[in-house]
């Protein structure tokens, strides 16, 4: 996936800076300059706000479930009714054979918004579960996996990039071939293969025990398959930085390789890492949705936005909201992260060198 800047964002000119500083140009840190650029990008900040709002809403899922909807995310309500305007409405329409005549049933109740006192705001699914509650809980899982996998992936990518870029030689060769190996597989196919294999029995090797159905499975699978997509460009940057004079100076002063990597190289790739991290969360949320849609991600009865879409596809004609609502949630989240990520990139790296190529 290539993320393109949609914002016309230029470097601060000396005149602009001077005007802001009332005539006097003072030395500013790159982070402060970046913040100045970012704060003027209202679109990016607007979408950041949207993302924060989504996170907050999902975080409040337990409160919503207990105080408003009055049901848990996996609580089935087949055969039950609820009250709307004093009338008893079946959560899922009754079907079967009545006096020998077949009656199609199983159609869940549609979005009630606020007409049912907070119940079934976005309708019910075919087991009578409250879609709004599952959407929020599903959001928690999707965000946990998206952010968690982005974090793990980025940490390992930095580590590999530093080792490969700084040491080069056989260490660099091995790490590069490892990147090539993963790169050789289409991301989603590799993730499905790993996710499916692990979702049956879990992972029980090397003293690590992860049960089937654990959120750690999709999180680690996504982290693993995306490492080269972050690690490779970072390795390129390290290779370039390694030749710079300040690295030579640090080495000449007797700094250990560890110190050079930690104190000299890492701060210089921090801006790229930050941009990558933001953009890759969005990418990982999409990957998780794809994996869960195909049954290789979050396992039932737990929800994620991907599983909600998968559950909804069987009822796309009679209950389209089941797939559309989580679809909108994914679009908004990914859009907010991508637009903010683009803004962050423009602010941190106005020459826009950073790209995630998929």
């Amino acid at each position: 996936m290539a993320t393109e800047s949609t914002t016309d964002f230029t470097l601060d000119t000396a005149a602009e800076l001077a005007s802001e500083e009332h005539g006097a140009i003072e030395g500013k840190s790159p982070w402060l300059l970046a913040w100045r650029r970012l704060r003027r990008n209202y679109v990016a900040l607007g979408f950041l706000l949207l993302f924060v709002a989504i996170v907050v809403m999902c975080a409040l899922a337990p409160v919503y479930a207990s105080q408003i909807a009055g049901t848990g995310p996996n609580e089935v309500h087949l055969g039950e009714t609820f009250t709307r305007d004093g009338e008893q409405i079946p959560v899922v329409s009754k079907g079967g054979f009545v006096n020998g005549k077949f009656v199609a049933g199983g159609i869940p109740v549609g979005p009630q918004l606020w007409h049912a006192g907070g119940k079934y705001v976005f309708g019910a699914d075919n087991l009578g579960r409250d879609v709004a509650v599952r959407l929020l809980y599903g959001g928690i899982n999707s965000l946990k996996i998206g952010i968690g996998s982005a974090l793990i992936c980025t940490i390992f990518a930095i580590l590999f990039a530093l080792l490969a870029g700084y040491y080069g030689g056989s260490v660099g060769w091995i790490i590069s071939r490892f990147f090539d190996l993963i790169w050789a597989f289409p991301v989603l196919l590799l993730a499905i293969a790993l996710g499916t294999a692990l979702s049956i029995n879990g992972f029980h090797h090397f003293g690590i025990n992860i049960e089937a159905g654990s959120l750690w499975i999709p999180t680690l699978v996504i982290s693993f398959v995306l490492i080269p997509y972050v690690g490779r460009p970072l390795r390129g940057q390290i290779l370039s930085l390694r030749e710079k004079e300040f690295i030579e100076a640090a080495t000449a002063q007797g700094a250990s390789p560890f110190r050079v990597m930690l104190s000299e190289l890492t701060p210089n790739i921090a801006s790229s890492v930050l941009v990558f991290f933001t953009l890759i969360i969005a990418s990982n949320i999409l990957t998780e949705a794809g994996l869960s849609f195909l049954g290789a991600g979050v396992q039932a009865p737990n929800a994620s936005w991907g599983t909600l879409i998968a559950d909804g596809q069987d009822r796309i004609v009679t209950a389209p909201w089941l797939a559309i609502i989580p679809g909108i949630a994914i679009v908004l989240t990914v859009l907010s992260l991508n637009v903010f990520g683009d803004g962050l990139r423009d602010a941190l790296d106005p020459r826009s060198k950073v790209r995630i190529e998929r």
Binding site: V92, G96, K101, A300
Partner: protein
């Protein structure tokens, strides 16, 4: 002497989508038409020794035939066995251990070669050589079981099958009486193949047939074509000679695409289930082309009777009370089902409706408390395909409500039954279903719930149901070859004992299915057999 088993009153429960019901005979008056285009599910094989899916069975009803077969008609009479390649029903000895058949005269395969009595023995022996899924059915034949039996050695011949090609006679000797032996001989695994047919999967190299049609070609996952058998000459007068001159099957496994293929007129018949999502549309827009039937099947939850918490009868009773069977029919099944508490499906003469477990969540919670098992973790297994997925999620939800902590394991269909059939899995509860192989209670209670047949792997009884008194009764009934009303009552008691007295299992519905046709088909010829399903051989077009 083993008398002809009474015809089963297996009422199909068929119900039209609003259109006219077919006449009882469902005959098309012998009219033929050039082409039937069907949208079909993928068969597992197209080799009678290997296939074990309804997709293959229904498609090849008119291709390979055995000594006996089912009457081609609608309603309960369609469960009646009639002689196919055999001249008449067999002569059976008084002890039920010796059966003698005589083949019809001048029988030929589709390639023009003669059908010989020894082909029958070759057919059964070939089943063992190709590891057919049906070999277990023939274990009662003398010379099959035991350390030197053919099942183990696969050498020489099965001593209990004696044939005389010149006299066209086949004698089958059994080690012990087998109440369902005639039904077993009507299974696809006993359908004649010529001696010398390679002992390997011949799906893509069509085996010569004895029925009115022959398989012309089969491309796995793509298509199959059936054409008339040029050497048939109405050699089996007890079955129709078939209406379409040619049947072209397009394999479409996606139910939505399959349904759409009929709606758009590209196919004349949709083998797949009409998706729940499209049922209201099919019912309103195409009601005359839709037929809904309930064949002999039972969907049930198994509860592992051997390990906690369900080794406690109160815990098992609690689950039975916690399940709202009608709600499951309405929800995941979209109405396509009939709630049940019996293990045996309705329509069997042995069926006596059970209504002991009316949905009562409060009582279920109380029973869990009384059992002292509240709060225990339960590993619940199911498949990740609808509607089984929905029904198992429902079970997990109800277990939570009555005080357990269910842990759901959803597996793909391909590995599911192997997993729950392995004792090492220690599945405590889960989903399973059963569709009859043949219409006899032994195919239900002996295969699925006889504690004497529990195995470590490939266990058909994942609930480890093992009630010694009932096992003894099943074994006794197994030896009785005549299904008299008194015997039927004993089978009904087995059902009641296992489902109510010991509450071993939680049957919840008999699933209904759909037959959907294009406007080209004349629905007045629609014939549904309880064993053969939609009888395409007697269909007709407008």
């Amino acid at each position: 002497m083993l008398t002809l088993v009474a015809a089963f009153a297996l009422v199909a429960g068929g119900c039209g989508g609003g259109g006219n019901k077919s006449s009882s005979g469902g005959s098309n008056g012998g009219k033929t038409y050039p082409l039937l285009r069907v949208s079909w599910d993928a068969p597992d094989y197209m080799d009678p020794g290997l296939y074990y899916t309804v997709a293959a069975y229904q498609a090849t009803n008119y291709v390979w035939e055995g000594l006996l077969g089912y009457k081609h008609t609608s309603g309960p009479a369609s469960a009646e066995l009639v002689p196919y390649l055999a001249e008449k029903m067999p002569t059976v000895s008084a002890d039920g251990m010796n059966l003698k058949f005589t083949l019809r005269k001048n029988l030929k395969y589709s390639n023009g070669t003669d059908v010989k009595a020894s082909d029958f023995r070759y057919t059964i022996e070939r089943d063992f050589k190709i590891d057919s899924p049906g070999v277990g059915f023939f274990s009662a034949i003398k010379g099959v079981s035991g350390p030197n039996g053919f099942a183990t050695t696969k050498k020489g011949h099965i001593s209990g099958i004696i044939t005389d090609d010149a006299a066209r006679t086949i004698e089958i000797q059994l080690d012990h009486p087998e109440g369902d032996i005639l039904y077993i001989l009507a299974l696809e695994f006993a359908h004649f193949v010529p001696t010398g047919t390679p002992a390997s999967d011949q799906s893509t190299h069509p085996i010569p047939s004895t029925g009115p049609y022959m398989l012309q070609d089969y491309v796995p996952n793509r298509s199959f074509t059936l054409v008339r058998n040029p050497n048939y000459n109405n050699q089996i007068p007890t079955m129709p000679s078939g209406a379409p001159d040619k049947v072209v099957g397009k394999i479409i496994t996606d139910p939505v695409a399959s349904y759409q293929s009929v709606v758009s007129g590209q196919s004349d018949y949709d083998y797949n289930q009409v998706p729940n999502d499209r049922l209201p549309e099919a019912q309103s827009k195409y009601k005359d082309q839709l037929r809904i039937y309930t064949n002999a099947n039972t969907w049930y939850y198994f509860l592992n009777n051997k390990i906690p918490p369900f080794n406690n009868i109160k815990a098992r009773q609690a689950v039975n009370y916690a399940i709202d069977r009608q709600a499951i029919v309405s929800g995941p099944f979209g109405g396509l089902g009939r709630p049940t508490e019996n293990f045996l499906p309705p329509g069997y003469p042995q069926y006596k409706k059970i209504t002991d477990f009316t949905f009562d969540l409060a009582k279920a919670k109380q029973l869990v408390q009384q059992s002292g098992t509240a709060g225990q973790t339960v590993d619940v297994y199911g498949t990740n395909e609808e509607p089984a997925k929905g029904s198992i999620e429902y079970l997990a939800g109800q277990l939570t409500k009555i005080g357990y902590k269910p842990k759901l394991h959803l597996l793909s269909h391909g590995v599911y039954f192997q997993t729950i059939g392995n004792q090492a899995t220690k599945a405590q509860a889960g989903h399973t279903d059963w569709y009859q192989d043949y219409p006899h209670p032994l195919d239900w209670f002996d295969v699925l719930l006889n504690g004497n047949r529990i195995t470590q792997t490939h266990n058909n009884n994942p609930g480890n149901v093992d009630v010694p008194s009932v096992n003894k009764e099943i074994d006794a009934l197994k030896k009785i070859t005549e299904l008299t009303p008194a015997v039927n009552d004993r089978w009904a008691k087995v059902d009641r004992d296992l489902m109510v007295t010991y509450a071993t299992t939680v049957p919840y519905l008999n699933r209904s299915s759909t037959d959907f046709f294009s406007t080209k088909m004349d629905m007045s010829c629609y014939t549904f057999s309880v064993v053969l399903y939609w009888d395409w051989g007697v269909s007709c077009q407008k």
